[in-house]
């Protein structure tokens, strides 16, 4: 963007304002509190991830930010502006949106669809450049219903990026895609971020959040329960390794808690234990010792690097995805 192009709007356009900010967001659906007093701030140029299980309130939060749902309470500000009234058009032109699920018109081709979306914006990327960016050039003449899941998702992203938005909302952009398709989407999001764009992303894939997001907020039951850079959140676990073991027989979590090198213990289900371990060398012999002393049978034991998944389990006692 050149200086002359932006001078006319810069008076009303505070470049220091957060990309997105919300305070005290509340949204009920009948008896269900989908969002329950949620605050967050997304900085300019950062990729911010909302991480949480299905039904945590991620989509409702994002759609409130997008101006598609009116909150019952709370304040929303995008690029320094609020939704409502005459300003909406201004915001709509600067925000790119990919909804969690949209079936674009089946009978139109890829190119026709992008051209249609381009026509809604006063300025933006050319259709050809957009197709190139999303790797859809070879598919430009294909009807939408003939596309694979990954191609459809890239088309949805093309419709969001054709306006060259300042802020991009992605609601579970890679759910249900195979790893290769997922990586192609990640590449596009990284390119957008490298160009200075801000991103708000929801996901329940840890790898996705860890790779794309500068900061993540872990959302559970309509609230943010932890927030920070992915590495920082993992570091807060204070665990070098996660040890997971399954036993056959009666074993009390308390029996493992005070062992040397063990930072925390969770019992999931009847016989599955997850232990945060500061030092594997110290902890493992001690754990095995307890198992032998209690004469329970060890069925499986794995160790791994802690991840955001473990942060989530540690905070909620539940897994991110039901498997």
């Amino acid at each position: 963007m050149t200086a002359t192009a932006t001078s006319s709007i810069s008076a009303a356009h505070d470049p220091d304002a957060a990309a997105a900010r919300c305070v005290g967001l509340v949204k009920h659906y009948d008896d269900v509190k989908a969002v329950d007093g949620l605050d967050l701030e997304v900085r300019r140029g950062e990729c911010f991830g909302l991480l949480g299980p299905n039904g945590a309130g991620k989509t409702t939060t994002v759609e409130i930010l997008e101006g598609l749902i009116r909150p019952d309470a709370g304040r929303v500000e995008l690029l320094g502006r609020q939704w409502g009234g005459q300003k909406d058009q201004w915001l709509r032109e600067r925000v790119g949106i990919q909804l969690q699920q949209t079936d674009l018109a089946d009978k139109l081709t890829v190119e026709e669809t992008v051209r249609l979306f381009r026509s809604f914006y006063p300025s933006g990327r050319s259709v050809a450049d957009t197709l190139e960016l999303l790797g859809l050039r070879a598919k430009r003449g294909a009807r939408v219903h003939k596309l694979s899941g990954g191609q459809k998702q890239r088309l949805a992203l093309a419709c969001a990026l054709v306006s060259e938005p300042e802020l991009l909302f992605l609601d579970e952009p890679t759910t249900g895609l195979d790893p290769q398709a997922r990586h192609r989407i990640w590449d596009v999001v990284e390119t957008f971020g490298a160009g200075g764009g801000s991103v708000v992303l929801t996901t329940h894939y840890m790898e996705e959040a860890a790779r794309l997001c500068d900061r993540v907020a872990i959302v559970d039951r309509g609230r943010i329960i932890a927030q920070g850079a992915p590495e920082a959140l993992v570091a807060e676990l204070d665990a070098e390794q996660i040890v997971q073991l399954r036993v056959d027989g009666e074993l009390d979590a308390e029996a493992l808690r005070d062992l040397p090198g063990v930072t925390h213990v969770e019992k999931n289900g009847g016989d599955l234990f997850r232990l945060g371990v500061a030092s594997v060398g110290e902890a493992l012999p001690a754990i095995l010792g307890v198992i032998e002393a209690k004469s329970v049978a060890l069925q499986t034991m794995t160790t791994k690097q802690p991840s955001l998944e473990d942060v989530f389990i540690h905070l909620t006692g539940r897994k991110l995805r039901d498997e």
Partner: protein
């Protein structure tokens, strides 16, 4: 950075998208263009003008008179006598295979007629359902034929001059009615279904998240409909004229204006029906609920004047009735646009009210 050279107006792009979506739906093309023509062909052939059907007469009884009665009936025009037993005849009358039974009574026994004068004519008994128009017609025809054969003379002379009025055939009545039905159905399904489908697929929500003007979206439906409307109406008018000789006696401009107004009116109704549902099943139900009464009551296939007097004002207030009346006025009776104004007012009122209400109720997600 904006290469606006190749970017068309959103209304143009939206309308093009509508036209493409519709044009690429082969089924929709058939139901819009093929089906009404097939219907016109089928009904036009089934109800083509033809001489009145032959009256079927069952002749029962005994004796020599029955032979002469059969002969007399055979000689008469438009009568088909069948010699049946009494039981067969009763069954045939009940099932509608014959319209009347002529029972030839045996000549009176000579003993009972002491004067022994010339034998009187055979006494006949006509058995028929006096509530059936066909049977009453059959009695008149049969009696007349038999009496004349025995020498009855007209007491008063009358001339018969057959007249065939232009535009009085069933097909003349049917073609405007089919145009009406088609304009209604294609407007309703073309818009209502597409809108509900777009809502169910979250496409409406996605579009609402762009700076697109919402009025552009709704207008694009109207513009694309009008393109297809012109083709539909032209096809049926041309087909009726070329195949069945149904002439447009009024002006083509009047037909165009009425079709346009009617279509806009039905689009308003379609938007109203499609304003809220997000399931196509529910929408189809509403759509049928709105259209079925008009299919039956609005005089597309037969004149609504056959319904009782008391319900006529309600029938005339239906948009399809108004549309059919206006179109028949112009096509069959050569009315001017001005002369059809009451119907046009009804159409405009429906359009404005439905459209206004639809905009209020419309759900984007």
């Amino acid at each position: 950075m904006s290469r606006s050279g190749s970017v068309r107006h959103p209304l143009v792009e939206l309308t093009l998208a509508r036209l493409r979506e519709f044009g690429r739906e082969r089924g929709a093309i058939f139901w819009t263009f093929g089906f009404p023509v097939l219907l016109a062909v089928g009904l036009g052939i089934a109800f083509r003008s033809k001489p009145p059907p032959q009256v079927r007469v069952a002749v029962v009884g005994q004796g020599p008179e029955i032979v002469s009665t059969m002969e007399r009936l055979h000689r008469a025009e438009g009568i088909k006598p069948l010699r049946l037993s009494a039981a067969e005849a009763t069954g045939a009358l009940r099932s509608g295979k014959v319209d009347i039974i002529v029972e030839v009574a045996p000549p009176r026994a000579a003993a009972s007629d002491p004067k022994g004068a010339e034998p009187g004519p055979p006494r006949l008994v006509y058995r028929f359902d006096t509530l059936q128009p066909e049977s009453r017609y059959a009695r008149l025809l049969v009696d007349d034929a038999l009496q004349r054969a025995l020498g009855r003379q007209d007491v008063m002379k009358a001339d018969h001059r057959p007249v065939s009025a232009r535009g009085s055939r069933y097909i003349d009545f049917l073609i405007p009615g089919l145009i009406g039905l088609n304009v209604m159905s294609s407007s309703m399904w073309g818009i209502g279904y597409a809108v509900v489908l777009a809502r169910r697929r979250r496409l409406l929500k996605r579009l609402a998240a762009t700076p697109m003007r919402r009025s552009h979206y709704l207008l694009s439906f109207m513009f694309s409909r009008i393109v297809f409307l012109a083709a539909e109406v032209a096809l049926l008018v041309a087909f009726g004229w070329l195949v069945f000789g149904v002439a447009v006696r009024g002006s083509l401009l009047a037909v165009t204006v009425i079709s346009l107004l009617g279509s806009l009116s039905f689009m308003g109704l379609a938007l109203l029906v499609a304003a809220r549902p997000d399931s196509t099943e529910v929408a189809s139900g509403w759509m049928n609920a709105a259209m079925l009464p008009m299919w039956l009551l609005s005089g597309s296939f037969f004149s609504y004047e056959r319904f009782p007097e008391s319900v006529q004002p309600f029938l005339k207030a239906l948009p399809l009735t108004a549309f059919n009346d206006a179109l028949r006025g112009v096509i069959n009776d050569g009315a001017s646009l001005w002369q059809t104004w009451p119907s046009l007012v009804v159409l405009a009122a429906w359009g404005v009210c439905c459209f206004g209400l639809a905009l209020k109720l419309f759900r984007w997600q």
